[in-house]
């Protein structure tokens, strides 16, 4: 079974979002998503400074099975990307919620975070998708 930490927020498109002490948010893919994709072989991250509207593709994760778009969970600016993933995409498979984070964003409007799913709602979504 996949993990769904209680202190994170989630999107319907299987990203997790964690609010950092400085108000920025870290974004990654959920444990469920990495299990579905299987071993990752390539990750394309956004550029620092780029701005995205919520729901826009901003990164790509590629596994031996498929390439999947990663969507910006909220509108905002990219402030940091996890450069370690370039040489070691498997980091996401090993710890989707820890070292496997993809990028940090500065949300344009922190209230947007409230519209994201909580752990229970995301777990229910995964259940409903029948995976």
């Amino acid at each position: 079974m996949s993990e769904t930490p209680k202190d994170l927020r989630y999107t319907k498109t299987h990203e997790w979002v964690k609010t950092m002490p400085d108000g920025s948010v870290a974004v990654g893919i959920t444990d469920h998503a990495q299990q579905l994709l299987g071993d990752l072989v390539f990750i394309e991250l956004p550029k620092v400074g780029a701005e995205y509207a919520a729901g826009k593709e901003c990164a790509v994760v590629e596994s031996v099975k498929a390439a999947s778009d990663i969507y910006a969970p909220v509108s905002g600016k990219i402030v940091e990307v996890n450069t370690r993933l370039g040489d070691a995409p498997e980091t996401v498979n090993k710890g989707a919620y820890g070292d496997g984070w993809l990028f940090r964003m500065q949300p344009r409007n922190p209230d947007d975070l409230k519209s994201l799913l909580d752990a229970a709602a995301y777990a229910a979504l995964v259940e409903a998708e029948g995976h």
Partner: protein, 484 residues
């Protein structure tokens, strides 16, 4: 072992060399190479053994049942090969005058006519060299059409999420943004979401029918009306044409443009990247934009090659000369062997075989992804229940099938269905072959229960055991380097 590793300096094999080497004197000095290329030096017998052994390691349609969904791996009749390899075809120079190539041009003209007839379109161009290029040509024509009318505000192409993965890529290559339309619970396009998505920004919709979910779209008429009413055009991805060949025509469904994969539906050899052929068919509206060259028949019956001169609004050329001529000839022979009635039988038996397999597998306890829907020429089962009960995943079952003498179906595609197999038997398999595949699936399901490790470690009997596809993707190594 690579053939380069068999090489010994000075070993020669002159019997296959041309008896007269052409004298080439007009190549400028600076273009001539200074060093001899590093080529393997082996005897004729070494070369024969090397490549024969390699071919024996291969799983192919000539040796094994190959139910790779979405790929239409049907038998390639030998007659198609034999006729297209006639010396008069092989030795023809592509720049030879049409006067000396009337036979060749007649074949291409008739192939255009046959494809028009079977798709219900007004005209066909054979020049795209692959399915993806056919798609590109199709969407480029949609773009040219809107631009010719000064209608430049159309920036969006709609693509259902059950379409072929190449569709969104094609739209982007043609400068459009892609809007995805979701699938409803029964695997069909979600009509309400489509209705909400169309507008003055809609350039067109790309539809794969039957879809990659192995079901026929049931609301084609509705889809067609919605998109056309919004001013968009309809693109038909013909990759799955095998299911409807000769039975229903995309032109009659109201589609404006279609591409066909001759290397699937018309049985030309494929796999390993080609060569393919992806002709495009258009209705009246898109006629002026058709890629050139096309073959036409003059009043006196002669065949002529038409280019930009006759088609000034053409989107242009997609290949040198006439596309993959040898492949087009094979498709032509195939079509002539079948005739109109034969083509209908292709679709009938392709769908019958798929429905038979789906029904039998369901009886044996396998789970169809869309149990309420009839299969098309292919269908999806999900091995999720097996995974939950035994820990054996779809990939393990795929590998174990190799031990039992079957190429695996397509795995983990489409991604909408977990632990899935997309199974496409094609019309060319016998009932006995289908039954033995089903028996192998039942045997593997049993093994998964009593000895899951056996399945998880498969294949056991192949020349190469389970490949490390993750390492292959992460550390791509395709180049041989000569030792210093």
């Amino acid at each position: 072992m690579l053939i380069f590793e068999l090489s010994r300096s000075g070993r020669r094999n002159p019997s296959q060399s041309p008896s007269v080497m052409p004298v080439v004197e007009d190549i400028p000095q600076h273009l001539l190479r200074r060093k001899r290329p590093i080529l393997p030096e082996v005897s004729e017998m070494q070369a024969v053994r090397h490549y024969t052994r390699l071919s024996q390691k291969n799983f192919s349609i000539d040796t094994h049942f190959y139910p790779l969904g979405s790929c239409t791996m049907k038998y390639n009749p030998r007659a198609c090969n034999a006729f297209s390899m006639l010396p008069q075809f092989l030795a023809r120079h592509p720049l030879a005058s049409p006067a000396t190539g009337q036979g060749f041009l007649a074949c291409l003209f008739e192939l255009q006519e046959i494809l028009k007839d079977v798709t219900g379109m007004k005209a066909v161009s054979l020049t795209p060299m692959a399915g993806a290029q056919g798609e590109f040509a199709g969407v480029a024509m949609i773009r040219a059409y809107h631009e010719s009318r000064g209608d430049v505000s159309r920036t969006e192409i709609l693509v259902p999420d059950a379409a072929h993965g190449t569709n969104p890529a094609t739209a982007v290559m043609c400068g459009y943004t892609v809007r995805e339309i979701p699938t409803d619970a029964n695997g069909g396009i979600d009509i309400e979401r489509l209705r909400a998505a169309v507008g003055p920004q809609t350039a067109g919709l790309m539809l794969t029918n039957p879809s990659t979910l192995g079901v026929f779209e049931r609301d084609i008429q509705e889809v067609q009306l919605i998109v056309h009413k919004a001013g968009g055009l309809l693109y038909y991805d013909g990759a799955n044409l095998n299911a409807i060949l000769g039975k229903v025509k995309p032109g009659n469904m109201g589609f404006d443009v279609i591409h066909m994969n001759l290397h699937k539906t018309f049985s030309t050899p494929h796999g390993g990247g080609g060569p393919g052929a992806g002709p495009v068919g258009v209705n009246e509206r898109l006629l002026p934009f058709l890629p050139v060259p096309v073959v036409a028949q003059a009043r006196d019956g002669r065949y002529v090659v038409e280019t930009e001169e006759e088609h000034p609004q053409s989107i242009g050329r997609l290949s040198a000369y006439m596309g993959n001529a040898g492949i087009l000839l094979r498709a032509y022979v195939y079509a002539r062997l079948l005739g109109r009635t034969g083509m209908r039988r292709v679709a009938e038996f392709a769908t019958l075989n798929a429905n038979y397999m789906m029904a039998r597998l369901k009886q044996q306890g396998f789970t169809a992804a869309f149990p309420a829907r009839r299969a098309t020429h292919e269908f999806i089962i999900t091995l999720k229940p097996m995974k939950d009960a035994t820990g054996v995943i779809a990939m393990d079952v795929a590998k174990r099938l190799l031990d039992k003498g079957f190429h695996a179906p397509t795995t983990y595609f489409p991604m909408l269905v977990p632990e899935c197999f997309l199974i496409e038997p094609t019309e060319t398999e016998s009932k006995e072959e289908l039954d033995s595949f089903i028996a192998a699936m039942v045997a593997i399901a049993h093994e998964a229960q009593i000895n899951p490790e056996l399945v998880k470690n498969a294949p056991h009997t192949t020349v190469v055991r389970r490949l490390d596809d993750v390492r292959a993707a992460r550390e791509l190594d395709l180049r041989w380097r000569a030792p210093d």
